[in-house]
Symmetry: C2
Subunit: 409 residues, 2 copies
């Protein structure tokens, strides 16, 4: 695979110059950047056999790359995340990035110390080439013609971005959920390009129950008449109902029973009297919350991307591909921090334990901790839960950085 490597410096400077309103002091503003990859004669050959190129990759960086280029941390986002991890893109942004509580100056992943990179995944819809992007061969969005992609393909693009940025090896790859799958895949298929892996609420494969939930979510999209077999981009209306429903279903799996009880219980949305009316579709607070989540989601996400990325998640299975998990890990060269959450039922602790057992069998360096939390799968994203995670991640990264600098890792 031949990569067209560009030096991004001048482009970055130009882009920063285009946001004069960005006058905040620390943590200041962060600018989304774009790289064009695979735009030469060699396209990216995907695991499923198709090829694709050129690709645009949207990414953000935080902090400064050290002169030795040894302090880079690549954060892999989860299913519906994006490159915007921390801070604000403009001072007017209502909310900061999706992991602002964990990444930034003086925070757990300290951007005063580390150079943090996060890119929107291949197949996504937040700046990186995906089904909603224009296919250069046709001049219209790919839609259902977007090629089938896997986690390995997503990781191949992450590594192409590293080439573009002129970084050989990252100190660490950090990811939760689908991001954790990317981190695992990275450790196995690009063992020379990461010294450490931080794996949160993830697993070596999606469980059959996880496939089942993804399948019903996809069914909701396929069954929406506005889906039009994926060719809805030119239409006035998008398959909003189907995508919102898919999100609502998935969202239940991100919460624990306990967190739903704590947050909503059986409380009603308006008053304390039952309506005795079937038309009151959001009578309970939990219903109103799920409807809100569904509606908010369709404003920022593309249905074809949802289909593409959930399927890549379904396909992920390190055991199937390598005979055994220990075999898979025998190719790795990095050290691992594996973290699970007690109330996560989408990626239960047993899945992390399976990884840890296989890493031990493969004689790899692994630290494992199950954090107690009521917040289910989403715990690694919840601000109040971050201090527990910080106590694991800060020393792990610190030691890895130290060992890297003295050539021990």
């Amino acid at each position: 695979m031949a990569l067209v490597v560009k030096k991004p410096d001048s482009r970055m400077a130009a882009e920063v110059a285009t946001i004069p309103e960005c006058v905040l002091p620390e943590p200041g503003c962060v600018q989304r950047q774009y790289a064009t990859l695979f735009d030469g004669p060699s396209q990216l050959v995907l695991e499923g056999g198709a090829t694709i190129g050129p690709l645009t990759v949207a990414y953000e960086t935080y902090g400064q790359l050290s002169p030795r280029k040894d302090n880079a941390i690549y954060i892999c986002h989860a299913l519906t995340g994006d490159a915007h991890v921390s801070g604000r893109n403009t001072p007017q942004d209502r909310k900061p990035g999706w992991w602002d509580g964990f990444v930034g100056p003086g925070k757990a992943i300290d951007t005063d110390k580390y150079f943090v990179i996060c890119s929107n995944v291949l197949g996504g819809c937040q700046g990186t080439t995906g089904p909603s992007s224009v296919d250069p061969a046709t001049g219209v969005p790919y839609g259902p013609d977007f090629p089938f992609i896997t986690i390995r393909d997503i990781v191949a693009v992450h590594n192409a971005l590293l080439d573009y940025l002129g970084i050989g090896k990252v100190l660490a790859v950090v990811g939760g959920s689908l991001g954790g799958m990317q981190a695992l895949e990275w450790a196995i298929s690009r063992p020379d390009r990461a010294s450490a892996i931080v794996l949160l609420a993830s697993g070596p494969r999606l469980s059959a129950q996880g496939i089942a939930f993804n399948a019903v979510g996809r069914r909701a999209i396929y069954a929406d008449p506005l889906f039009r077999e994926g060719r809805y981009y030119a239409a006035d209306e998008k398959p909003r109902f189907g995508l919102a429903l898919a999100r609502m279903i998935a969202h239940i799996t991100y919460l624990s029973e306990q967190s739903i009880e704590l947050k909503f219980g059986r409380r009603l949305q308006n008053g304390d009297q039952f309506a005795y009316d079937l038309r009151a579709e959001t009578e309970f607070q939990i219903e109103s919350y799920l409807h809100y989540q569904g509606k908010a989601f369709v404003d920022r996400f593309d249905a074809n991307s949802y289909l593409t990325l959930t399927r890549s998640m379904d396909y992920f299975d390190l055991t199937e591909r390598n005979g055994s998990l220990a075999n898979a890990f025998s190719q790795t060269q990095c050290r691992f921090l594996v973290v699970s959450y007690t109330s996560d039922w989408l990626f239960p602790t047993s899945q992390s334990e399976e990884i840890v057992r296989a890493l031990i069998e493969a004689r790899r360096h692994v630290t494992f901790f199950e954090l107690t939390s009521p917040y289910g799968h989403d715990a690694f994203l919840i601000d109040s839960e971050l201090p527990k995670l910080e106590r694991l991640v800060v020393p792990f990264l610190g030691r890895a950085y130290q060992d890297t600098r003295v050539g021990r890792l």
Copy 2:
């Protein structure tokens, strides 16, 4: 509430006479029967305040009522069940009733000994008046105008059927899941009409997580354009996609992660090679299974009934209505057998334990057992799991019957 009580004998005889092909020996055939209730000037006053009547109730009976009328067992079916518990309605039926492994001559609920009654619930779609029934006031199906019903209303109709059958008090009410809610409601609101309750995989209320899953299922129906706000009966096409999807979502909650792993795992439906094709919507066996379940369901169930009955389930909350669960149970006069299953996550053991604690606090007679099973919420319906349940239910019912006959219960 004035009930019009009819003697059903002549009607039953006439109906049996209409199925001359029913020549099988034991267990023979069973005939679905129909009762018309609330057809006098007094209609049924529902908990939500509306009234309804006349009502047709579809029911089946098995075995013989004892001369003392003390051997009746009322089985309450779950969300999508029907009156056909056991045996076949015609010799040509491909499958027997939904609990044929547990109810019948010589079986756990032994119809050589007990007189078993099961009726389709109010609001259902399998013979008892529900949204798909013709509203006598308009001459067209109720549809969305069907009044809002609760578990208490369903139990009121069960008791009206008992009046119709001339039975004052049943030996036991047996129910799993939504059927268990009916049994609990019966114990509380009709304490004089049951000596014992058998409660399987149920709880004192639907959890917020359960409401969430019901809510997304209903959303699937509402979002189906063929739903037409519930007025689809005269249309060529029914909201099949929405109802099938609702069933697929719910079906995942009836299984355990372990049972999905055991039955399907990550196995593919055709061969062992990935298709790398998003259009392959049922590539994994679990997907194919869920699609089959969805399709089979829409052939036998009505979308408006699904909305109605899931909402009645959402509303059920014995604590809310009675201040405390112990208060609720202080009105009961029967004894209880409570059974939960280790892998049931829709009605986990903790819910049964809450009932048991409250029954003990209310100084009621309760026997509790958590059965070990990998089959999740559906375990009480799975043939291979029935022997474990039988070892609890047979002696419990036997002792209750014995105590009833000597006036101790």
